[in-house]
Symmetry: C2
Subunit: 478 residues, 2 copies
């Protein structure tokens, strides 16, 4: 699907959305068949499907097997979205979280397990043959076949391509503004080390990716989790109050399609956030690792887009889109460039030469953008299948986020259900989920879980979600 097609599907979808919301067409009405959409708008079958996927993802329509698509819009029908989180205004304990994380990942050893607990793309979704070809080319074209050290700052071609791909989100970077790192967490770790001293307090979203909590703890930083909205991300008012009343060293946000909540800060929020950090001189580490996996028309912008002070350190990688095992990430560190370069030099000298060249070529030839279009379309379809399956199989009061990108559903169940119990029962049936308490240092989210849909949708996955729903219903009854 090319960019024009992508634009078309949204135009079609938006037209229907408008009519449905205004009840021009109503609950139960049948929609035109895909074939007639193709004819009417002169588009391909996949564009038509994309339009209907979009409407499905917003629960505006639903498909009935062998019958067609029907308007399903009704305020009653919607599964609610989860509550805004309300973490306490204190630092929580780590041990329980660590033990749970260790257990969940230690138990993924059975090849029969349906793994819904890892926020990574499954190999089936990756362009492996093309990457291998790029590797063979790199062995041929690099001096000394990549056995020599790369510059500390990283492969120039790769940095240039990252800069090029950042134009649509108006980052106006050049290769000189970027430093290659060994994955995104490595970028974040350098950023934290450059800015915060032991004992300092940092602000994060709540829930938050546990790797961030673990890193902060090992660097002896205090973590302040702030209320976060499942659609719009961190609550700006809470952030404002925190920086006005506490000594905050830095803030770390996953601004686009956060893990595990799936939230995406509206551009207006990003702009306001940048105003706030500039006013209070609080550096912001922006983890944008899911930003390229958007389901809408355009890639969402970043806080970095609005940053004129150099206070935003934009971190990213290809681990969620191309090859986690290549460990290629980067950072646009703004005014902290010298410190980050020095840290990288001291801690690892340089990043592996070959993998940087491979990813550099992959980006240069346009293969990356081609692959991303396919990946986004697959993940969007998955997200809808997951939403529908959870909606259908789980207890009625289930709350689900509406991801508009990324890899994860955040599911909130009745307070009576502890998802660690759900986990225990599920793993016995070879289904691995990520309980909500993995994503906080505080006592919260015990009735939540993260489900990753980064795999090929098939009958096993569908059945696993049904089974999870059944177990949840059982736990409700206990």
């Amino acid at each position: 699907m090319n960019d024009i097609d992508q634009f078309l599907y949204l135009r079609i979808a938006k037209t229907f959305e408008n009519q449905i919301v205004k009840e021009v067409i109503r609950l139960g009405d049948k929609l035109p068949s895909l074939r007639s959409i193709c004819k009417q708008y002169d588009v391909s079958q996949s564009t038509a499907m994309q339009a209907y996927y979009y409407l499905e993802s917003k629960f505006l329509i639903e498909s009935k097997p062998k019958s067609g698509y029907y308007v399903s819009y009704s305020s009653k029908h919607y599964a609610s979205i989860p509550e805004i989180s309300k973490p306490g205004d204190f630092e929580g304990d780590q041990e329980d979280m660590e033990n749970l994380i260790d257990k969940v990942y230690r138990q993924i050893t059975n090849s029969k397990t349906t793994i819904l607990s890892l926020s990574v793309p499954a190999p089936e979704l990756l362009p492996i043959a093309k990457l291998n070809k790029a590797m063979v080319n790199a062995l041929r074209s690099l001096p000394a076949s990549g056995t020599a050290y790369e510059h500390i700052q990283g492969n120039v071609k790769l940095r240039r391509q990252i800069a090029r791909l950042s134009h649509p989100i108006e980052l106006s970077l050049t290769e000189d503004d970027l430093i290659i790192t060994d994955g995104c967490m490595n970028a974040i770790s350098y950023a934290m080390m450059a800015i915060a001293k032991p004992g300092d307090t940092i602000i994060v979203e709540s829930p938050v990716y546990f790797g961030i909590l673990q890193l902060a703890k090992i660097l002896n930083l205090k973590v302040l989790e702030l209320p976060t909205h499942p659609q719009t991300g961190i609550e700006l008012e809470a952030f404002k109050r925190a920086v006005e009343t506490k000594k905050i060293s830095l803030c770390l946000l996953v601004s686009n399609f956060s893990n595990p909540l799936g939230s995406c800060m509206p551009n207006e929020h990003k702009k306001e956030m940048v105003n706030l950090i500039q006013k209070h001189n609080v550096p912001l580490i922006e983890d944008d690792i899911y930003g390229d996996v958007y389901f809408g028309l355009n890639r969402p912008k970043t806080c970095k887009t609005y940053d004129e002070s150099g206070l935003v350190l934009w971190c990213n990688s290809i681990s969620k889109t191309l090859a986690p095992g290549y460990r290629v990430g980067w950072i646009a560190p703004g005014k902290f460039k010298d410190q980050i370069l020095k840290l990288k030099k001291c801690h690892s000298i340089s990043s592996p030469t070959l993998s940087q060249e491979v990813i550099g070529s992959f980006l240069e030839t346009g293969r990356y953008e081609h692959h991303l279009r396919k990946l986004r379309s697959t993940l969007q379809a998955n997200s809808i299948n997951f939403l529908n399956a959870v909606h259908e199989s789980f207890p009625e009061d289930v709350k689900i986020n509406r991801p508009e990108g990324g890899f994860v559903l955040w599911v909130e169940l009745d307070k009576k259900i502890n998802t660690v119990d759900l986990y225990e029962k599920a793993i016995k049936r070879n289904i691995s989920i990520a309980p909500g308490s993995m994503f906080t240092l505080q006592k919260q989210f015990s009735n939540c879980m993260r489900l990753s849909y980064g795999m090929k949708w098939d009958a096993t996955v569908a059945q696993s979600l049904k089974t999870l729903g059944m177990i949840s219903k059982g736990l409700m009854g206990e």
Copy 2:
């Protein structure tokens, strides 16, 4: 050359050494031709040459073009070895050192420059075609062609092979005792972070590889440089005094063929050092990155060999022997394993999957040991050529270490000569050296330099050394 040949050459060499030192054969006497050595001992030409190289490296014999080999032993004739270093008992300043290092490495941009300032193997010395083949095999054999995450601890095959190769130095490791890192500096950085807190004092050799000083500084550690002997390494008495009178958090040593001094701690010293650290409970980071590049009969042992307490963290990599650009290193962290694993997980999740598999297979097939034999023989020949060239061209009072392994000569010139001046004059003639003040935080070694012989010996290199000698003589006259 196989192991039996290697044994043979040393037996031949030792026989001659004994006769020369006891003056059974005397200064000026002609030695048997290589051909007659081959006949007499029933060995190959290369074994015979190896024996004579050994004798040359100890300045016992010299070759005269078109004539043969002659005894050159005479106490007068020997260039002395450099003095034991005498660093002050205080912490020095960093800025001058940083500026000098930046300058030296920034100026290596001209492809015509003879680079004697980098302690790495030149591409010509690396088995690149075989590594490429192993990479193509890894793409075929690894699940998902290595795009998936490797375990945090690292590729099992690679760890098993490292354990196997450590048997000759009696490390008695299993794969479980090892953690793969992104190169040796990365291993050292985790080790330092695991053990020392900001403000702590650590002990290092003097001179010391500047990367260690930079890392210690960025972690806010105080550095105590101790007197170091150019042949036997750190002075044990000085170390003893330091740990008895000061609060020392850890010690870092390059026990075998140190960079830049070329010293190699005798096994007895290693044993004594381990006793001392155990008595005073001071963890020891042992950087053994040059240990495989020995010129003698056996690989020298390590401090880790004698460690029963788990206080020694043995760090190593293939950056000096196979492929610096692959960034594959490892650590046997003793009792600090849990901390190091946790640090690695937080700072970079896992190391690149493909390169670990490539190096793992390379070690498994025995190609590594085959390659090492060749590399050692080349470097030994280089070291002798360098020694002779410096000896012949430099001012008479030049002092040179006698490397029995590794990549570097440490050259001490008359106090009148500042090697930063020498550097400035040399770089104008496209020769890059590493001035001694790069390897200390204190005011010392201004008349020293490090010359790396990790390249193919040829007329350009020979001429560069002559030019350096000439410039030095000029600086003496000024």
